[in-house]
Symmetry: C2
Subunit: 407 residues, 2 copies
């Protein structure tokens, strides 16, 4: 068995063995991990210093950007404390498991429940920031999924020690220490992508090319988190102040974020009025390209990445047509595209922003990491068989019942 | 442009152009299709006779099974009428689109809605029965997706005429005639699997090898509908009558169905009691293999296909552990695995039974063909920008609001 296969098999076994572990035990495991991280803070930050030193050499040689180096630093500002606080926050979120979304009585004494449950084994691949290991581990544990994590190679020393602390925390809990594992090489990722008997979902967070490369090399479902190409459309009824505020914020609040705006579409009637003011406001901040188009919806559907698009308008009809007609994960009215974010949406946490159209779309919270199963219970004295139904036999009732699990 | 690419592009355009078409217009389109099918009944059944003739030659030569031939026949019993009734039934189902599943006020005058919407362009590949073209076309139209359909080559003459009638029906409606297209060759399927810029979801309904072959050859998400390996576990507290009824029904009600049972697991304490009676009842019907196992949950998780598994037990604790511990789309108590079915579950229709773990699991109704988008509306006099929030600025409210769309 290859080492990748051993990882994958251990993850699947850890997942299956933890089906009966309660929500309370999961929350306790998260607090154990937080404590283990805090106990090992000195060693982890020392390893992080080593990663930073190696990265500085790469920066000096022009092989790495200064901004990537900055993202590696785990000791910057309140980063360490907010990483630990994030673990506590996830522990305190409502349990996403065991939620009944469909409940019907199919027959007297035959009850059907659709119940949320974990997906299985996640393979999560991300770049740069080492604290993502801790974030994703917390999300996986809370949502009942086991996970194999691969960070950027620049942070290998840090993520190794973070992973050891996570395993130490898990060993104090009801969950197996193999519930969260980390790998360090691309070769291991390649091997894991072939193991669809063990791995249920691949979550790549990074560039379009990373997501596409993974999609090309696995039959495992991929929940891609790639770049956004977002648009703002200034409708003919746009309010001038809203236009300026929304465009400038969408474009300049954090230009390298996936939810910042790339494309501005201006209704031609505004070219000598609103556009001049918006253009001036943008020039004072950054630059924008403006393909004016009377068919804004068609233009956006053809050219956007279906991430987030916004319209500035005072017309209810234009807003309605835009929100329904634009085929994107987020369709906004008089609001900046930068609102597309799990925390801002109120999810309490964020796995990332899915650019896929299956399972979870847009900002992904814990809900995006669960699926459901159907539980069917007969309380009839003879049990239930389909042979009793149909022509000349019983008919299905399909009556609504309380969405309360009997077990 | 290849013919496959022309199909795919036309489907995407048809999808995008129909975003604003109402639920009522979709229902009308379905009734137009039903009428067009009825008007062309004679020609369609004549083509079906040709398919049957060609198939008979294959059967006589030993190259096709008798049962496949039977499934081709569109004029058998009430098949034609129930195909048309199915279209009317789907038209009458509740609209799966526009349903709000999350509604929050992020700030005064900033409302967020998560609204169900179509996935996009579906590529549906299935085998044998020609009426599936009509079923799937109806489901796609109702759920707002455009679709490209590929049936079995044995029914090419029939499906061609069915497709023409569907297009004729669509041309009487608000939907474009290219909303539903059919293709006839494997080469076209291969070409389409490369076109992830146009096609959003592939739904193969057939053998494990069909599903796997498609997963190996596309980066488009695949919602597989493959074979099931289902289990029944007779717990030590199993009631003897329930055991006999559930096992015999699960195994023999329709042995070739994906939800019939392959594996029977018997608690060792029952070997000289319940098992003898169940075994005799099965011998009177069919045969079964019985790997007795004290660790039934582990056994099922390792060997089942995670489709549907049932326990026969009088113990509440055993039922609870089984339902939560078995990692399958259906976990049943004292009920036949044959209940795993969209109609029996009360969905009113069925796309198939998904053996995947992402997006839709188990029997798939219209809900499985939709995803959602987030609509965000600012009613503030100045619009909303994220730059106003954060340290020293505004805080997010995240208050629940009515799940009623403003447009």
């Amino acid at each position: 068995m290859s080492s990748a296969e051993a990882f994958a098999k251990a993850a699947k076994t850890a997942f299956e063995d933890s089906q009966l572990i309660t929500s309370k035990e999961r929350a306790t495991a998260l607090l154990c991990i937080r404590d283990a991280l805090q106990s090992n803070k000195a060693e982890i930050l020392a390893a992080n210093k080593e990663d930073l030193k190696a990265a500085q050499i790469e920066v000096d040689a022009g092989r790495m950007s200064e901004s990537l180096l900055k993202r590696l630093d785990l000791d910057k500002g309140d980063k360490w404390d907010s990483m630990l606080q994030g673990v506590s926050d996830v522990a305190a979120l409502p349990d996403p498991l065991g939620i009944v979304s469909y409940a019907k009585e199919l027959d007297d004494g035959l009850e059907l429940f659709r119940v949320s449950c974990p997906i299985g084994v996640l393979l999560v691949i991300f770049e740069a920031r080492p604290e993502v290991v801790v974030n994703i581990a917390a999300l996986a544990i809370k949502s009942g999924n086991s996970a194999i994590l691969k960070g950027g190679k620049e942070s290998n020393r840090t993520t190794l020690l973070l992973a050891q602390a996570i395993a130490a925390g898990l060993s104090q809990s009801a969950l197996p220490a193999t519930y969260i594992q980390t790998i360090q090489t691309r070769a291991e990722v390649s091997s894991l992508l072939a193991l669809d008997q063990y791995i249920d979902l691949v979550i790549p967070r990074g560039s379009n090319s990373l997501v596409r490369e993974i999609q090309n090399n696995t039959r495992i479902p991929v929940m891609g988190h790639a770049d956004g190409i977002c648009s703002v459309y200034l409708d003919e009824s746009a309010d001038i102040e809203k236009a300026v505020r929304v465009v400038v914020d969408s474009k300049t609040d954090y230009p390298s974020a996936c939810n910042s705006t790339e494309t501005l579409i201006v209704h031609e009637s505004l070219l000598n009025s609103v556009w001049l003011v918006v253009g001036r406001a943008l020039l004072e901040a950054k630059s924008a390209r403006s393909p004016p188009s009377p068919a804004a919806i068609r233009f956006i559907n053809t050219h956007s990445s279906h991430h987030t698009d916004s319209i500035v308008t005072e017309s209810h009809a234009a807003a309605a047509a835009f929100c329904r007609g634009v085929d994107s994960a987020g369709t906004f009215v008089n609001a900046s595209t930068r609102f597309a974010d799990g925390f801002r949406y109120g999810f309490g946490t964020e796995v990332g922003i899915s650019t896929g159209r299956i399972h979870a779309r847009g900002p992904v919270g814990l809900e995006g990491l669960v699926i459901y199963k159907y539980m069917l219970r007969s309380t009839d004295a003879k049990g239930h068989v389909v042979g009793d139904f149909g022509a000349g036999g019983k008919q299905y009732k399909h009556a609504n019942i309380a969405a309360t699990l009997p077990f």
